[in-house]
């Protein structure tokens, strides 16, 4: 569909405000102003989307915005300062889940797409789904719902096999597009389980780095789905966050003096019973 110029213009402005906002957050003096600027960008982008002619389900849309937004707003206001990291994790997971859900609808519609579009939709769905369940585990650990690090025997081998299965199913979806519902379902199931299994063995102390990694993942997923939707604002916001998040993850891992691979794939040496 071709969009009216005021919608495209508003999205463009929104993407600009995101970049200025993030730039502002890079120094303590302007940090607070930065998030406010980015906030205006978000409001602008959402408001403009309502003005697209021919969109259906507007009432449902408004309801979903109010429900999701209000729940998160209130919980974010109430949470204790020390519990912030897990809130970042859970909000991030929701973004990943949203990106995966966008891809799911895209697959369900089964519109004819180019191979590149389908590949990016699949990749975005995969990392979005992993980020969704992974972030939920990260939240559960930091919140104290999950107390122990659960490590399977041959954990790394299980991770690799699951990842390969997910990639294989994804490849099948590209090859057989439009994919059958069973295949779509299997793909998402494996991707969601992968996020769980990868994150479960990681200890609470390493979680901030892992949350940052999932944050970068969600960014990439959003960027890829943005391409599928033909929406440059999503691409820009998603990829900027993906790149920034990747670098941030490395910096955080470095600050902890542990390489990222070590955090993800090596168990902490058994520290005895108790916390």
């Amino acid at each position: 569909m071709t969009l009216p110029i005021y919608v495209q213009g508003a999205w463009y402005l929104g993407a600009l405000l995101f970049i200025f906002g993030l730039k502002g957050m890079g120094s303590p003096a302007s940090a607070r102003k930065g998030i406010v600027i980015a906030g205006y960008g978000m409001l602008l982008a959402i408001a403009a989307t309502f003005l697209i002619p021919g969109l259906q389900n507007l009432a449902l849309m408004a309801l979903a915005l109010v429900v999701g937004g209000a729940v998160a707003w209130i919980s974010g206001k109430k949470v204790k300062m020390t519990d912030m990291p897990q809130m970042v994790a859970i909000y991030n997971g929701m973004g990943g889940g949203a990106a995966a859900a966008i891809a799911a609808i895209e697959f369900a519609k089964g519109d004819a797409h180019s191979v590149v579009t389908t590949i990016l939709a699949v990749v975005g769905a995969l990392i979005g789904a992993v980020s969704f369940t992974g972030s939920c585990v990260a939240w559960a650990k930091l919140q104290g719902v999950l107390k122990k690090a659960h490590r399977l025997p041959a954990q790394n081998a299980v991770n690799v096999v699951l990842a390969l299965v997910a990639i294989g199913l994804g490849a099948a979806m590209v090859a057989m597009a439009p994919a059958q519902p069973q295949l779509i379902f299997a793909f998402f199931a494996v991707a969601l389980v992968l996020g769980l299994i990868v994150t479960l063995p990681i200890g609470g102390a390493d979680m901030p780095v892992v949350i940052s990694l999932f944050n970068a993942f969600t960014g990439l997923a959003v960027g890829f789905e943005g391409y599928v939707l033909g929406n440059p604002a999503l691409i820009i916001a998603g990829i900027v966050v993906g790149a920034a998040g990747t670098l941030l993850t490395q910096l955080m891992a470095k600050a902890m003096n542990r390489p990222l691979t070590n955090i993800l794939f090596t168990p902490m040496v058994a520290s005895g019973p108790g916390e």
Partner: protein, 94 residues
């Protein structure tokens, strides 16, 4: 739909932008920036709205509703949490 190569330009430039934004940031701002970038990818809600707005079947509507709610939560929650973190950086009486 977008020209494939044009999209590649956008991808590349956006990646450089993201890198440059973070490259010289002091360590104390790492966590707020993670939270801030978490807010920014909440723009996924726009994509979710587009999908819900073109959903044809009940299943698609349900997934679309779910997607918009999750995206809205990402944006709203990300904003509140980041704002609260950064409020601590407000100029203190020195």
């Amino acid at each position: 739909m977008m020209d494939g190569l044009l999209a590649l330009y956008i991808f590349t430039l956006a990646a450089f932008t993201g890198y440059e934004i973070i490259a010289k940031v002091p360590v104390i701002l790492h966590t707020p920036l993670m939270s801030g970038s978490n807010f920014v990818h909440g723009v996924v809600v726009v994509g979710a709205m587009l999908m819900l707005g073109t959903a044809d079947t009940v299943v698609q509507q349900a997934i679309g509703f779910f997607a918009v709610a999750l995206g809205a939560a990402n944006a709203a929650g990300g904003y509140v949490v980041t704002e609260r973190m950064l409020a601590m950086f407000k100029k203190k009486e020195a």
